[in-house]
């Protein structure tokens, strides 16, 4: 009984996902209320009708009370979690007891994160986002929703089975020699070769990494690339897992379901030989939409150059087509969220994937758009807070600062194929308005700001969401080049492949059962780098961990999962040390700070957060980054690092021994020799 629904304020379904049970439940309810046999209405309509009263009530409460629902719990323990982002209302439901309120809230935030990675700054304009999420064309809508649904399912599967998605940190394979070799190979051979090729069509490989299942074998970033945030990296792992699911944690892998495992040899995973005909057929598959006006504009606020409104093309599962992803970029002159990149996901063998992230040639436009959007958003905020127009415009950054830049920007757009006439009009209108004043000035200016933001998002959308380039010269690494990259890495790893896949490395080379008698499991996370180490907890027949297999391991797993959610709950309320005696087990949780030299810093205040605050983790919302920033306020000029340790011991072990184990683990695990550098 699970469901996730995104709705507009007018109760229009922007996205829905349900498990079969929920689906049947809705159908049954609708079937019962249907009078004579007109047949069941479309599922989308049923679900919309059923949820409409909640959605409308939610909006009413915000409008009239300034407060709104965050969750419902029924007597049979069905949980409904609601969260509104701008004009989109997210509702997540669980009726089978498998997810708590926290899990549902996290799911909502993850969904929003995935949408941001897919749509970038378009998400900043609710009007545009609503149209992206709900394309008029039903076939296209079905395809988009299917894709989002599969992403959500992949995420849920990972969260329920993969420790790195449980704690939201990246897990590395620990094999220092191999890792170092691979990193060197990526740097010296692969990325260099790709970036010097003419077939890269203006793109530049910034990051390259090799995944074994969800674990990182090697990661290389080129010198002029900014750091890839943990949040983005985890999102990319979800996307690559969605494309090439590893079946390690499925008891009964069905090869038919999983493309990447359908063959026996590596050759079947090569990208199909690309050819012009392939491209032609692909473009003819796509409905031609350029000529049809897709939207009716009743709201003048969102009036845009209609021709520019091609809906987003959902790429077909052609592996050579990169996925457009929007990732955070931190540069000297600031943090730029949602900058466009292309993501190439190249399967090497089942379970092993090479991912390339490239910067696209026009990405500078995104930076300009972001700067302008920020300026207008700030102005709008100041106006909303009641500052008078002229005073409001003097804030930082001032409109005057960006005035000439925006003029130039629009001029440059005019010369390109981007439709910018509407932006030009709105901008002219804005400039006129800001010179005036008088009654109603603020209100009009706020309206103008909103207009500008919508137009800027529209331009951004045209630039980065619509398949650019022509069919003849697509802007991407050529299929040939991709194939070469794939082969190079395959050659490199050929000898290691079985080793990597067969042992599915217990990443911890500690024989911890001997070193730490009574210790059952542990997870250690370096929150500054977003990396975690833990013994594997595979519970399937094929993978026998040190915990054995079957029900016992499954039981331990459920304990670990619930421990993580419990300690998060305490962390949310400001508790950084927790020990629990629960049944036959003794659980410990520690969070602490160190400086760069490993000196343990004094425990400080941890902020107390509301129950409905963003989930603690690194995937959807980086709690630890904020925590580090908060803590660092008292440690100016020092690099502060943050660590977490969770342990599960047998309850019969004396507490002193347990604490000694914890201390040893905490110091041992991050010894430099065990922790290969990037």
């Amino acid at each position: 009984m699970k469901c996730l629904l995104i709705s507009s304020q007018s109760a229009e379904v922007l996205f829905h996902w349900t498990d079969p049970e929920f689906y049947q439940n809705v159908q049954a309810q609708y079937g019962a209320s249907q009078e004579d046999g007109h047949g069941l209405p479309a599922f989308e309509d049923s679900i919309s009708t059923l949820f409409a009263p909640i959605i409308i009530s939610c909006i009413t409460m915000v409008d009239r009370l300034g407060d709104s629902y965050t969750s419902f719990t029924t007597e049979n323990n069905h949980i409904y979690v609601l969260h509104q982002f701008d004009e989109c209302l997210y509702i997540a439901v669980n009726g089978d007891g498998e997810e708590g309120e926290g899990d549902l809230r996290r799911k909502i935030y993850v969904m929003k994160k995935m949408i941001e990675v897919m749509f970038g700054m378009v998400t900043l304009s609710s009007n545009l986002l609503k149209r992206e999420l709900r394309p008029q064309d039903t076939e296209q809508r079905a395809r988009l929703w299917e894709y989002l649904q599969s992403l959500l399912e992949t995420y849920s599967h990972l969260r329920e089975n993969d420790q790195s998605f449980l704690v939201e940190a990246v897990e590395r394979l620990i094999h220092p020699t191999l890792c170092e070799q691979c990193i060197e190979f990526l740097e010296r051979r692969l990325v260099q070769q790709l970036n010097s090729s003419v077939e890269r069509a203006g793109e530049e490989v910034l990051h390259a990494f090799i995944l074994v299942h969800t674990k990182l074998l090697a990661f290389y970033s080129s010198r002029n690339a900014s750091t890839l945030s943990t949040s983005d990296l985890l999102s990319l792992i979800i996307m690559s897992q969605n494309m090439y699911p590893s079946n390690t944690d499925q008891d009964d892998p069905n090869p038919e379901d999983i493309e990447s495992t359908s063959g026996s040899g590596p050759e079947s995973f090569y990208t199909p030989e690309p050819s012009p005909t392939n491209m032609d057929s692909r473009s003819s598959d796509m409905p031609v939409r350029e000529s049809t006006p897709l939207f009716e504009f009743v709201d003048p606020d969102v009036q845009m150059a209609e021709d520019s409104l091609h809906t987003l093309e959902v790429p077909l599962p052609d592996p050579s087509t990169p996925r457009r992803v929007f990732l955070e970029v931190s540069l000297k002159d600031g943090l730029f969220p949602m900058m466009p990149h292309s993501m190439y996901c190249l399967p090497l063998w089942p379970g092993i994937t090479l991912v390339l992230l490239t910067k696209i040639p026009t990405s500078a436009v995104a930076m300009s758009v972001y700067t302008f959007l920020e300026a207008f958003a700030k102005l709008e905020k100041r106006l909303n807070e009641g500052q008078e127009g002229p005073a409001a415009t003097r804030g930082q950054p001032t409109i005057h600062d960006i005035r000439s830049k925006l003029d130039k920007f629009i001029k440059a757009l005019g010369a390109s194929e981007i439709q910018s006439a509407q932006l030009q009009n709105v901008w002219t209108d804005f400039k006129n308005r800001i010179g005036r004043g008088g009654p109603g000035f603020n209100r009009e200016l706020i309206r103008s700001c909103k207009n500008m933001k919508t137009q800027l998002c529209g331009v951004y959308r045209q630039c980065f969401l619509i398949e650019s380039g022509t069919a003849d010269s697509p802007r991407r690494l050529s299929p040939g080049l991709q194939e070469r990259a794939q082969t190079m890495v395959q050659d490199k790893l050929m000898d290691w492949k079985d080793f990597l896949l067969c042992i599915d490395l217990d990443p911890v080379n500690l024989t911890y059962l001997e070193d730490f008698p009574g210790l059952i499991h542990f997870i250690c996370v370096d929150r500054s780098t977003g990396q975690m180490i833990a013994p594997s907890l595979n519970i399937t027949e094929r993978n026998v961990s040190e915990l054995g297999k079957g029900p016992l391991a499954q039981f331990i797993k459920s304990k670990v999962w619930s421990l993580v959610s419990t300690t998060r709950r305490y962390l949310q309320k400001g508790y950084s040390t927790v020990t629990l005696r629960d049944g036959d087990f003794y659980f410990c949780y520690f969070l602490w700070f160190e400086n760069e030299t490993g000196y343990k810093l004094e425990a400080g205040d941890i902020p107390v957060l509301a129950d409905d605050s963003a989930p603690i983790g690194m995937l959807a919302w980086d709690y630890y980054r904020k925590l580090l920033r908060y803590y660092s306020k008292n440690h100016q000029g020092e690099v502060v690092k943050c660590y977490e340790l969770l342990t599960v011991h047998l309850g019969v072990i004396p507490t002193e021994v347990i604490l000694q184990h914890c201390r040893q683990l905490a110091s041992k695990l991050w010894e430099p020799s065990r922790n290969p550098l990037l």
């Binding site: 029924t74 508790y575 927790v578 107390v608 957060l609």
Partner: protein, 619 residues
């Protein structure tokens, strides 16, 4: 990018959070048609000064969204969270209760608070729907307000967290006094019409025979009367002001629980007019030695030793008459008391006959007594509690009981008994107790039938003896007199002793804080001062609140240590108790890294050691 939202005070005042922000009862059945306005469905809304459109907004939206969710999940909504308010919800038929507190309050506590509130209402008023048919909204509004303010009144944060009983500080009181209180209750219970009782002193429990939940309910009425200004002539010598009663309603399970409690009725005196034995006014007033002596004397009287069991059965049918639905009352009388096999010696029949007669007559006289009081215009003190059930039967309920009147009528009764004037019991009932208009009270399947009982209160200054009695106890002059007179002396003595007990020295804040919650008796022991603004104690209270919620939700959890920058708190629990402990002082400076020398991890040992002297054994 959103920043961490840091609440300005990391330890917000929980007590203020426990204040109820909203409470309402909404009747959806009154808002069915298109033209019906939401306000027609609002039975009660707190705070009462809330503008009507806001009341309508909250009731309408919460009820609407709640119904929608309930339909989707085929189960009523229990908790509804907003960003700033946490609502516990109860939905029954078309009725919806919602109680909203700040989100700081743990979910378990809000739900508990709402349940308590509704149960309180039903305890004093019977079924909600029925009460609203009998009484005006204004009358009932004042009751909701009274219960609400009682539940929120003056308790400490910890008491709110555990929803525990307020008890006297037993560490300061001579245990013999507690024993004495228990004996008084036991003595009263010898009257078969008395189900159970409790003794309260200045709003705190001294001794109780009832479940914590029931004791809590009883205390509301007591505190309501206690806080009222005493009339000038309200000395204990005047029976009139010392004794009062009110109609109450028990759930079947509560009644069953009370009746299943073993009561040593063998020592019981004859509460009802007993021809064989002369009345002894001092009978129930006994100390331990009295009890012993009575043991020797009583068994010689077979009639009296048998009578309690016998007496029960007519009472049972009595109570089933009260329960509204004839179809429910006749085939299965609510109290599952196995019928006693009839005695062959025939001794019991005169007893029963006399009983029946006495019911009839006492009922008569009771009615007279009530009316006389009414005429006397003397019932103002408890006026608002009168006519709770509206029926003629309970006319005397809630009125002050004037003992002198009762005594006068007693004489009549005796003479009537002697004359042997018989009157069919059933007929008598029909005549005297026209079916009260409650046949529709329990027509809703969601509501379990409530059984009417009477709460009898005998006040001696700050001390109150509260007894749950069969409704006709009030009409049974002899029983009443016996209970009254037999306990009076003991109560006076107990009151004098309790009054002289110096309030416990608040004590310098010790090197540690603890709270010990007895889950069975629902009592709390703590060295936490109740003084307001105990800022240093706030981290402890906060941690306790979190841990208590965790214990409630995780059956297997036995103990926990949690540490924030401000405090390390140890919590442990067993089936019967929860204990929380925090050590002051010591170096709080720590790096948070696992360290077995860390003082936080020595808390369990310290707690075991330190709490022994508070009578808390954690071994």
């Amino acid at each position: 990018m959103a920043e961490l939202i840091v609440t300005s005070n990391p330890y917000p005042d929980l007590l203020s959070a426990f204040v109820c922000n909203y409470f309402f009862l909404y009747d959806g059945s009154k808002v069915r048609g298109e033209s019906d306005q939401t306000r027609e469905g609002i039975c009660y809304f707190y705070p009462e000064e809330t503008p009507l459109d806001r009341q309508e907004l909250l009731c309408g939206q919460l009820a609407g969204a709640g119904r929608c969710v309930s339909e989707l999940s085929s189960s009523p909504v229990r908790i509804l969270n907003l960003h700033r308010n946490r609502f516990a919800i109860r939905m029954e038929d078309d009725l919806l209760w919602a109680l909203g507190c700040s989100v700081e309050v743990p979910t378990v506590s809000v739900c508990e608070l709402l349940d308590q509130l509704i149960n309180l209402f039903c305890f004093y008023n019977g079924s909600v729907r029925h009460s609203y048919q009998l009484n005006s909204q204004e009358t009932l509004a004042s009751r909701w307000a009274q219960y609400l303010s009682h539940l929120q009144s003056g308790s400490s944060e910890l008491q709110h967290i555990f929803s525990c009983l307020k008890t006297i500080d037993s560490t300061n009181v001579d245990p013999l006094l507690l024993l004495k209180a228990a004996l008084i209750l036991q003595a009263c219970q010898r009257c078969p019409l008395v189900l159970a009782g409790c003794i309260l002193f200045r709003g705190r429990v001294v001794s109780t025979q009832m479940s914590p939940q029931l004791t809590m309910k009883v205390m509301v009425h007591e505190s309501g009367t206690y806080t009222k200004p005493q009339r000038p002539n309200g000395q204990s010598s005047s029976f009139g002001s010392a004794v009062s009663s009110t109609a109450v309603f028990l759930t079947p399970s509560e009644l069953q629980y009370l009746q299943s409690t073993p009561v040593d009725k063998d020592f019981s005196s004859h509460s009802t007019p007993h021809k064989n034995t002369p009345l002894k006014k001092t009978r129930l007033s006994r100390t331990l030695s009295d009890t012993l002596s009575s043991t020797e004397s009583e068994p010689s009287d077979p009639g009296s030793s048998q009578s309690p069991q016998k007496l029960l059965s007519p009472h049972l049918s009595e109570s089933s008459v009260y329960s509204s639905d004839p179809s429910q009352s006749t085939p299965n009388p609510p109290p599952p008391q196995p019928p006693e096999p009839p005695l062959s010696n025939g001794k019991h029949s005169p007893v029963e006959e006399s009983l029946e007669e006495s019911y009839y007559h006492s009922f008569h006289s009771n009615g007279e007594g009530g009316s006389q009081i009414d005429n006397g215009g003397d019932s103002s003190a408890f006026g608002e509690n009168s006519h709770l059930y509206g029926g003629g039967v309970d006319g005397a309920c809630g009125e002050e009981f004037n003992f002198r009147v009762a005594e006068e009528s007693h004489d009549n009764k005796v003479s009537e008994e002697v004359s042997g004037r018989g009157c069919g019991r059933v007929q008598g009932h029909e005549v005297e107790r026209p079916d009260p208009p409650r046949s529709d009270a329990f027509e809703h399947p969601g509501e379990s039938p409530l059984i009417p009982m009477t709460l009898y209160l005998h006040r001696v200054k700050g001390l109150v003896l509260a007894l749950l009695v069969e409704p006709h106890f009030l009409s049974d002059k002899a029983s009443m007199e016996e209970v009254y007179h037999s306990s009076l002396a003991s109560l006076n003595g107990l009151e004098a002793h309790l009054r002289s007990v110096s309030p416990g020295v608040p004590g310098a804040p010790g090197p540690y804080i603890f709270a010990h919650f007895d889950c069975i008796q629902s009592t709390l022991t703590s060295n936490l001062s109740g003084r307001p603004g105990g800022a240093p104690e706030r981290p402890f209270v906060r941690a306790t609140s979190l841990l208590h919620s965790h214990f409630c939700n995780t059956e297997t959890l036995q103990e926990a240590i949690i540490r924030s920058a401000g405090a390390a708190v140890y919590g442990t629990r067993s089936v019967a108790q929860e204990t929380y402990f925090q050590q002051h002082g010591g170096s709080l400076r720590n790096s948070g890294i696992p360290n077995h020398q860390d003082s936080a991890f020595s808390l369990p040992g310290k707690a075991r050691h330190r709490l022994l002297k508070h009578g808390v054994n954690l071994l």
